[in-house]
């Protein structure tokens, strides 16, 4: 019998009616003759509410305790979905992360899955149960409860699909799949039928918040076919798999954007070996993720060094940079937090010249100034002013003919 893994996000189980709706969808998969494993997120804003509760007690809750607290959100939704299935006449059983065999390291609040011991799930499936697993959580070797951090439930679902050899891992949220661009910015944006893991990674990392990159990476590693769809419609959604079919694809698959961007420029840095390490090591140590880095040609051994961080990390980054300026003998730091990224993404680009040029010309013709450029094999990103994002995404969508995808 084939195994299907489904994952329902917080908005898909936000209240009793939505849980019943999810139960009907789960039931259909069971009726179709599959063994069904379901992973759930916490209901709606539960996780935020629990964090707020913790902060009423202490400003700095300890990660170990916070993880147990947050893990209760998924226990609640998993038991309710199990009850809703029983109410529809299905046999169902809910399992905690620990019971489902999600074994992690002990990095509380951002634990990594070490292995999945699926024996309990398998025996429940053999008893003809639909198995509901609390997402986002696992257990350490010492039986302490951990949470997996952002994208945790997506990761749980893909990890279970991998270890169960599931035919497909269906990720349900309130989004109908992956689009050629954000439909709120570009009304003509098209829903993609298929997309490759790497393209999805670039799109998801750069602002298309449909599926967490971590889950995509895991899917790629184990070759799990992932379908991203909405639990509120019957549209097929987007299939993420090894290789999108060759014929129907456009070289550029989508336009991503991200407004969580801030730029830091260190001015007047003496250009000697070790200077980059001196700047970036302290940032790395404090978990500030640095994105684009650009160093200008140096004049008289003095250079400027520019990099971007998430805007939400800017205060933390600057608190580290200020004491650093003196020790590296730099002149000053300039920041700009009114920026955004726009990217074109597609595996087809790498062997074909001219994409970058067309992107730059398009932005130029739209009167948009490019501040920084960064590229990967399947992505070209420009940093531009935040207030130009809508114009940029629209112009690029048109230039690369994505409305005809």
């Amino acid at each position: 019998m084939t195994v299907v893994v489904q994952k329902y996000g917080g908005s898909s189980v936000a209240d009793a009616d939505r849980i019943k709706n999810a139960a009907r969808r789960v039931g259909k998969a069971k009726d179709a003759g599959n063994q069904v494993v379901v992973v759930v997120s916490a209901m709606g804003d539960t996780t935020d509410d629990l964090i707020a509760l913790a902060q009423q007690v202490t400003e700095r809750p300890r990660d170990r305790e916070l993880d147990v607290l947050l893990s209760t959100g998924e226990l609640v939704s998993s038991t309710l979905l199990s009850m809703a299935l029983e109410n529809l006449g299905y046999k169902a059983v809910s399992l905690t992360g620990a019971q489902a065999g999600i074994q992690t390291d002990s990095a509380y609040s951002r634990a990594r899955i070490l292995r999945v011991d699926a024996s309990r799930i398998i025996s429940e499936l053999e008893r003809d149960n639909i198995v509901i697993v609390a997402g986002f959580q696992g257990v350490t070797h010492d039986m302490d409860i951990t949470t997996l951090g952002r994208g945790g439930s997506d990761t749980t679902a893909v990890a279970l699909a991998a270890s169960l050899g599931a035919e497909v891992c269906q990720i349900y949220s309130d989004v109908e799949g992956v689009y050629t661009a954000d439909p709120r910015l570009v009304p003509e944006a098209m829903n993609l039928k298929e997309i490759g893991y790497e393209e999805m990674l670039e799109l998801a990392s750069y602002g298309a918040k449909v599926l967490h990159p971590r889950a995509v990476e895991l899917g790629q590693l184990y070759g799990v076919t992932i379908v991203v769809a909405s639990s509120f419609s019957n549209r097929a959604g987007t299939t993420i798999c090894k290789e999108a079919s060759m014929e129907v694809r456009n070289k550029v698959r989508g336009i991503a954007h991200d407004t969580n961007v801030a730029k830091i420029t260190v001015v007047g840095v003496p250009d000697h070996p070790g200077i980059a390490a001196a700047i970036f090591e302290p940032l790395a140590k404090e978990n500030v993720s640095v994105d684009t880095i650009v160093q200008n040609a140096s004049i008289n051994n003095i250079t400027d060094l520019t990099f971007t961080v998430a805007r939400t990390d800017l205060p933390r980054a600057m608190s580290l940079m200020e004491p650093l300026l003196k020790s590296i003998e730099a002149k000053q730091c300039i920041t700009d937090s009114t920026l955004a990224k726009v990217s074109i993404v597609g595996t087809g680009m790498q062997n074909t010249p001219g994409y970058a040029a067309r992107m730059f010309r398009t932005l130029h013709e739209a009167g948009i100034n490019i501040q920084l450029i960064t590229t990967s094999e399947i992505r070209i990103t420009c940093i531009i002013s935040e207030d130009k994002v809508k114009d940029a995404v629209g112009a690029l969508h048109k230039a690369f003919e994505l409305e005809k995808a």
Copy 2:
């Protein structure tokens, strides 16, 4: 080092401020040089809210799933108390029922503790941690989560105190201990300094809702000294132990009352062997607890049989009795749900005659009619009209001079 177990009820951890208040109280016990284990109930009305949530999904939630759902309430309060303690500078760690080694049978919703494996608690205490245990929950041999039913957190606390050889088990609620009568009925009621397990059992079973009888029984079995006190005051509360000191005690220790009483009289029952079994077996099978049973002397082999049940069980009891009447060839059933029990309780009574007589005279002089009488070794109970309860308790409190206790 001595171990102290403290238990905080739902009202003592109902919000962030009360949790901080409980944390200060826990901290004091630690400062005094003890190893401290704390058991918590769910915050305020959490358990009722979770049950209501389940009922939005299905009218008959399955016990296994409901237990996981309800167990989250105590996980939340235990982590918050742990955080509050850390915030005050104490080392603390929260444990689930499973982690705390509370091993139960698999009777979901009313599981019994089979054994406590306290090894994890002990190793956390040795690391100088205050250990916060989620009450009301345990785990089966198959690692499934159970809840202990009514009085569950009290039972968790006493079980841990027994297995850790704790010096004392302190039960904190919003009640200042055990009184000679309900202070809402008798303003002169006195707080008892000490009380024996059996007296406490009779008082608690008969309406003094301070500590669940199940926890008292467990305390008696393992000789755990239990202190019942309020988390909102500094009064010493009541110590429940093997034997109250001999000198200071009055023969009658307290007056209990209970208004959750209904009477069923089966009229015109043929008096032959097996008739009682025929009536009470069906009730027992459906978990209807029968209290007082009185059978009148039979005339011409026809008798009347009267018994009491909890008023909340009356509809269920009657739905069983009605089909039964025909099969046992009884005439009819008469019910009365405007009744109450008043009891005098005290170990001193059993060897001293005259208590019953004084009770009956007191009620008679107060113009109160006695409908049924039932006694145990340390208790005499009269069933009276519900509207006479306040008068009865007041008169008995005065007659046995409890205001001078």
